[in-house]
Symmetry: C2
Subunit: 114 residues, 2 copies
């Protein structure tokens, strides 16, 4: 018999399920740089709306990827910081960064060769 823990679970599908979307990857990228406030995060991600940012932050918080710190001040201040789990995703974003750099260089070279 096959035990539950031996069920075929795809690691890549697991990862993709947690952070395999445009906005989560970009939020992750920003928070890997530093802990950030809500609007700071919003401004740093081109094209994201308040609603979508909130939705993704809630989901990532529920998945244990980041931690939300709300301060009872006036005006309110809320900061987001990656958890240990979130930080462990750094190599993925890092590879995406490296690949993007290479890709953009190739594009630039092609333009210069025109």
């Amino acid at each position: 018999m096959i035990a539950k823990k031996d069920l075929p679970v795809c690691p890549v599908a697991t990862t993709v399920g947690l952070i395999g979307s445009k906005w989560k990857l970009l939020i992750l990228q920003q928070l890997l740089k530093e802990r950030k406030r809500f609007n700071e995060l919003r401004r740093s991600i081109d094209g994201i709306s308040q609603k979508v940012l909130t939705q993704n932050l809630r989901a990532m918080e529920a998945d244990g990827i980041l931690v939300r710190y709300a301060y009872a001040e006036v005006p309110p201040r809320v900061e987001y910081e990656l958890s240990e789990l979130g930080n462990s995703l750094r190599p993925i974003i890092s590879e995406m960064d490296s690949w993007g750099v290479e890709y953009l260089n190739t594009l630039k070279d092609m333009q210069e060769a025109e």
Copy 2:
């Protein structure tokens, strides 16, 4: 003045724009293993519909990530293979795989500790 090539372009956003979606990442994963036929690919990706698979394959082909080989046979045979550019994305999927393995192990350990 700022030249066009000096415009601030984010490498991670570039990468995310090309493959930052659930299905593209999973298609990429499958094709990194081997060249595959359409239905073979379809069966290997849980939950993907024919339409969505076609759409994503077309987009990835247009982006130069994969190559489509259509053979004029009866019945028709179409195979998909990663381009050199597509293959250069391997480290990203590789990191996602490693992370997923670790994550699943952690989950399993937590269950056993119950």
